[in-house]
Symmetry: C2
Amino acid sequence: MLECIVTKFGGSSLANDEQFRKVRSILELEPTRQYLVPSAPGKRFPSDDKVTDLLYACYDLASSGKDYEHLFVRIRERYLSIAQQLHLKVDIEAALDEVSRGIGEDKSRDWVASRGEYLCGLLIADYLGWRFVDAVEGVRFHDDGTLDDEKTQELLSGILKDGKPSVVPGFYGARADGEVVTFSRGGSDITGALVARAVNADVYENWTDVSGFLMADPRIVENPAEISSITYKELRELSHMGASVLHEDAMFPVHRAGIPTNIRNTNKPYHPGTLISRNAPNEASVPTITGIAGHKGYSVIYVEKNMMNSEVGFGRKVLALLEEYGISFEHMPTGIDSMCVVVKSELLAPHRDEVISRMEKLVEGSGSVAVNDNMSIIATVGRGMVHNCGTAARLFSAMSRARINVRMIDQGSSELSIIVGVNDSDFEATVRAIYHEFVG
Amino acid sequence: MLECIVTKFGGSSLANDEQFRKVRSILELEPTRQYLVPSAPGKRFPSDDKVTDLLYACYDLASSGKDYEHLFVRIRERYLSIAQQLHLKVDIEAALDEVSRGIGEDKSRDWVASRGEYLCGLLIADYLGWRFVDAVEGVRFHDDGTLDDEKTQELLSGILKDGKPSVVPGFYGARADGEVVTFSRGGSDITGALVARAVNADVYENWTDVSGFLMADPRIVENPAEISSITYKELRELSHMGASVLHEDAMFPVHRAGIPTNIRNTNKPYHPGTLISRNAPNEASVPTITGIAGHKGYSVIYVEKNMMNSEVGFGRKVLALLEEYGISFEHMPTGIDSMCVVVKSELLAPHRDEVISRMEKLVEGSGSVAVNDNMSIIATVGRGMVHNCGTAARLFSAMSRARINVRMIDQGSSELSIIVGVNDSDFEATVRAIYHEFVG
C-alpha cells in the first residue's frame, strides 16, 4: 500500500522563487507527498513584510476611503516576481487585478486577508502541475464563524477522493452562502490538518523554517536541543505554557484521526524534524523529559477557612465564583483548611477587588483571602517520567542547588508533567536548572 | 499577673486511686492549675473496660428490657474503690444509686453515657477540695444537638468568673430544656477547650498517657521522636491524615482564642510534652519537618477532555457532581486536558458506577473517565519548610533512593506541607524514607 502524505508549507517556505524551488524538490524527493497546503508568502528577510500583513493594511486603507494601490503594488510585485522567475503560465496578473478590485469594492476583511493564500496556491499549483482546489469549496464555516467540522470533512474528502495531487490554499474557507471566512492567524496549519484527515494521510508534514520544536525557549537556554519525538498530549502541555509553533486547533483533527504530524524545515529537507504522534511507539529509549515551558504572570488566590475540608462544596463555590467572571483556573493546590487557586493575573486584574471581596464573604468570620502575584509556572513535560521514579528528586535537587524556592508543586493529573510555581524573578533560573539537569 | 491553667485529664489518668493521686500531685506542683475537666475512668490494664463503654452496655440492656444491674455492679465497684482508697466524703453510693435508677427509668442514651464523667467529677472535686460545677449548667447545646458556642461561653465564664478552683466534668452539657446531650466520643477535650476559653486561660493542658504527639506513626517508624512544638495549622494537617490524639473540634475554641494547648503525660509529669500554639514563637531553631502522617485507601478519578482548559467551569462541574453524592475531594491535580480528583475510596464506593457514568456524560465524545484505587496519601508537614528551599529535593531524593514511584504531588496551599500520593503497597516505605531523611 502506498503512503499518502499531506504537506503544509509556511509563509517563509514560500517567500520567493528560491523557496518555491525548494518546495518542489522536497515534493520530488518523496512522490507520496500528494497534497500541498500553502500559506501566503512570508518574510524573505527580517525587515520584510508578510503578504497577509500588507493585505490587512490595504483593507484598512480602503475601508477608511484612502488609496491602497501604492501598497498593493508591493503585493503585486511579490507574486509577479515569483511567476516570472519560475516561468509560470497562470494569469496571475488577472488574479491580482481581481483582488485589487475586490479591495476597492468593499469585500470583507476575511476575503481580503484570504487572498494571500489563494494567490500563492494558484502559483504553486501551476509550478507543480497540480490541481488547484479553492478552499471555499472544501472548508465550510458555520454562520457564527466557527468551523463546520463535519461538513468540511465531507466536502474535502469528496473533492480529494480521486487521488489527484492537489493544492488547497490554507487559512480560509467559506460559509454555506459562499462568504469567505478565515481562521485566526496561523490557521493554515488547521487547513493542513483538515486535508490530512480528509485523505486519511499517513503523515501530515508541516514545513516551516525550524527543524522542529526545541526542548526549551532559546531566549532562556542557549542552543536548546530539538525534540525528535513528542506525543500530542505532551505537546498540548507544552504549548499551553506558550512553547508552540503550531496552531493549537491544528492538532485535534489529526490527533483524533491518529495521523502523526511531522514538523520539518524547508531549508534543511533531510533533517527529520519533530514527529508528533498519538503514542510515540517502538521507542528504543525514551528521554526522561521531552520539553520545558513556562510563563510568568500568575496570581495565587489563597483562601483559608476553618474546617474547610469538612465542608463539601466549598471548593466548588470558589470555582463557581471565578467562573462568573470568566476566570479559568490553572491549578488548585489544596490543604486542609486552605486552598489556592492559581489563575492568570491578566484574567484576574479587571475583577480583582470584586472577586476578593466576594470570596471574603464566602469565608466570613472564619477565614481569610489573600492574593499573591508574580508567580511563574513551569511545566516539565515527559512521557518518560512515569518510568523513572527519580524524576521529581532530580528536578527539585536541581532547583535546590540553584537556591530556588518552590512556591507550588502540582503533579499527578497526566503523569507526564511536573508543574512548579516559583517567583517571577526565579523563572529563567528555574528553566535553566531543569534543562541542564536533564539535558546537560 | 498570675497565670491561669485549665487542665483536662483523660480516662487513663483517672482510671483508679493511684492515678487520682498523680493528678493531685500534678495540680499541687503548679498552683495556677485552677480548673480541671475529667473524663470518665478508663482502662487500668489493656483488657479492662472503660466506664463509658459499660454505661452504654447497661443502657442497651435496659432499653431491650434486660437486666443491667449485674453489669452496673462493675461500674459501682470502680467508683467505690476510688472513694474508699482515698477516704472521700462525697456520698458516691447515693449518686451511683441515682444513676442506676435513671438507667431503669428510661433516661436518654446521652444522659446514661454522661454519668461516667459526672461521677468522676464528684470524686475528684471532693479529693481536691474544689467546687464541682455540673456541665449541664455551663455547656449549652442547640435543640439539633450541636453546641451553642456563644451561650456556652456566656454561661461558663459567668459561673467561673469568681476564680474559685473548679471541676467541670467533660463530654456533656444540656439543651435549654435541661435534657443532657453529649459530644462525640473523646469530647472531654472539647469541654476542656471551652473552659479554657471561658476563663481566658494562659494554657490548656491536656493530660493523657503519652508524652505528646509523635512525628510519625510508631506502628510504621520505630521509636519516632516526639514533637515538642507544633502550630494549630500544622496539627490540623497532620490530624486530618489520621495522626491525632486530640478531638478536632477541641482545637478551634482555644486556637481562635489564642490559647496554647499542651499535651502532657500524667505518668511523666516532668516531661514537657507537645505545645500546640497559634504561632510557634521565639524559636531558636525550627526543625524542617514537624511530622508525617498518611492514609491508605484513596481513589483517583481521572478525567480527560480535549480542550478542557479552555472551558471555564469544567472543574466546577466535576466538583458539583461529586458534591451531589456528598463526596468531598482531597486534592485536585490539574493538567491541560486532564484533571484528577482524589477522594476517599470509602466515600466513592457506594456511588462509584453512577458517578463514573455521569462524569462520562460530562466529557461525552471528547474525553474519558477512569478511576484508580489503592493510592495512599502522605502529608509531610513543617512550618520550617518555607525557610528551606531544599525540602522538596530531599523528600523526593529519599523516595527515589527507596525506589518509590510518585503518583501525585500537591504543594503550595499552606506552604507548610508537601503531599505525595503513592501506591498503597509503598505507603509504609514512603513514611519511613521521609522520616529517616529528615529526622535520622
